[in-house]
């Protein structure tokens, strides 16, 4: 890994790239981290919806810095000390930063948690709001 440059490095790199292209499916190539988010945009409102099953409002931390939104949430383990027949659910602390394409108004952020879905409402900053131009 820390060797000197070799002409064949590029050849191998290309071979690996081709191998990866054919071995991976489209689904595995698209790696997304938990929490999964969907972003909706309407006029001057941006809506971010994240999946958060089993997360209470105290365990969510939403931060806005410039136009970067950081969501940190803890899904607390609710394992009972009992014999388990099936264990499929996942727990832990998840953190994700989303870079928003617009400057948002830091005073108009509204986050709510409902039925395991975290909804963050943001409003575009005055400067980037769509404006109607009147023709004289």
């Amino acid at each position: 890994m820390f060797g000197t440059y070799d002409l064949f490095d590029d050849v191998f790199a290309l071979r690996n790239l081709v191998d990866r292209f054919f071995n991976e499916t489209a689904f595995s190539r698209q790696r997304v981290d938990f929490p999964y988010v969907n972003i909706y945009e309407k006029d001057d409102e941006i809506l971010v919806r994240a999946i958060a099953p089993g997360v209470t409002a105290q365990d969510v931390d939403v931060q806005l810095m410039d136009n970067t939104l950081t969501i940190e949430m803890t899904c607390k383990e609710d394992y009972a000390n009992q014999p388990y027949l099936r264990k499929e659910r996942e727990f832990g602390t998840f953190r994700k930063s989303i870079q928003l394409p617009y400057q948002v108004d830091p005073n108009k952020v509204d986050a709510s948690l409902n039925n395991g879905i975290l909804t963050i409402k943001l409003s575009k900053h005055e400067a980037v709001k769509p404006r109607k131009i009147t023709i004289k």
Binding site: I39, A52, P53, A80, Q82, Y84, I117
Partner: protein
């Protein structure tokens, strides 16, 4: 023959409804089985739990606001309705099944029949 093929009523073929199989934890205590399922986006009224012929069926309908693609600009997940079925043993008392939904996590409690509960066997002194 060719016209028959062309007239094949594709519209009448019912497309399968895509469903999400929710991840489930099941554990057993002395008195009951407890089942927990992650079902985000489902309101309490839209969960349907049926117990019939030792089959426990769980369906959850996701709120329409979470499934619509309107104004969506970036997507990492798609929500569908939830469905899962379990075959459970005769040890369950169907009258006592209870369920609750909290923060998108469904908890179903299946109490055991009296006969199936663990019993302590006393050893008689001779």
């Amino acid at each position: 023959m060719a016209t028959q093929l062309a007239q094949k009523p594709e519209q009448n073929v019912k497309k399968p409804d895509y469903v999400i199989t929710p991840p489930v934890d099941i554990y057993e205590t002395d008195n009951e089985y407890v089942l927990k399922a992650d079902m985000p986006g489902v309101a309490k009224d839209n969960v349907n739990i049926t117990f019939n012929n030792n089959e426990l069926e769980i369906t959850g309908k996701v709120d329409e606001q979470y499934t619509s693609n309107e104004n969506m600009t970036y997507r990492e997940y798609t929500l569908f309705n939830y469905y899962r079925k379990f075959v459970v043993s005769n040890a369950i008392n169907p009258e006592g099944i209870s369920a609750s939904l909290e923060n998108g996590v469904l908890t179903v409690k299946l109490p055991k029949r009296e006969e199936a509960k663990p019993k302590k066997i006393e050893i008689k002194a001779e």
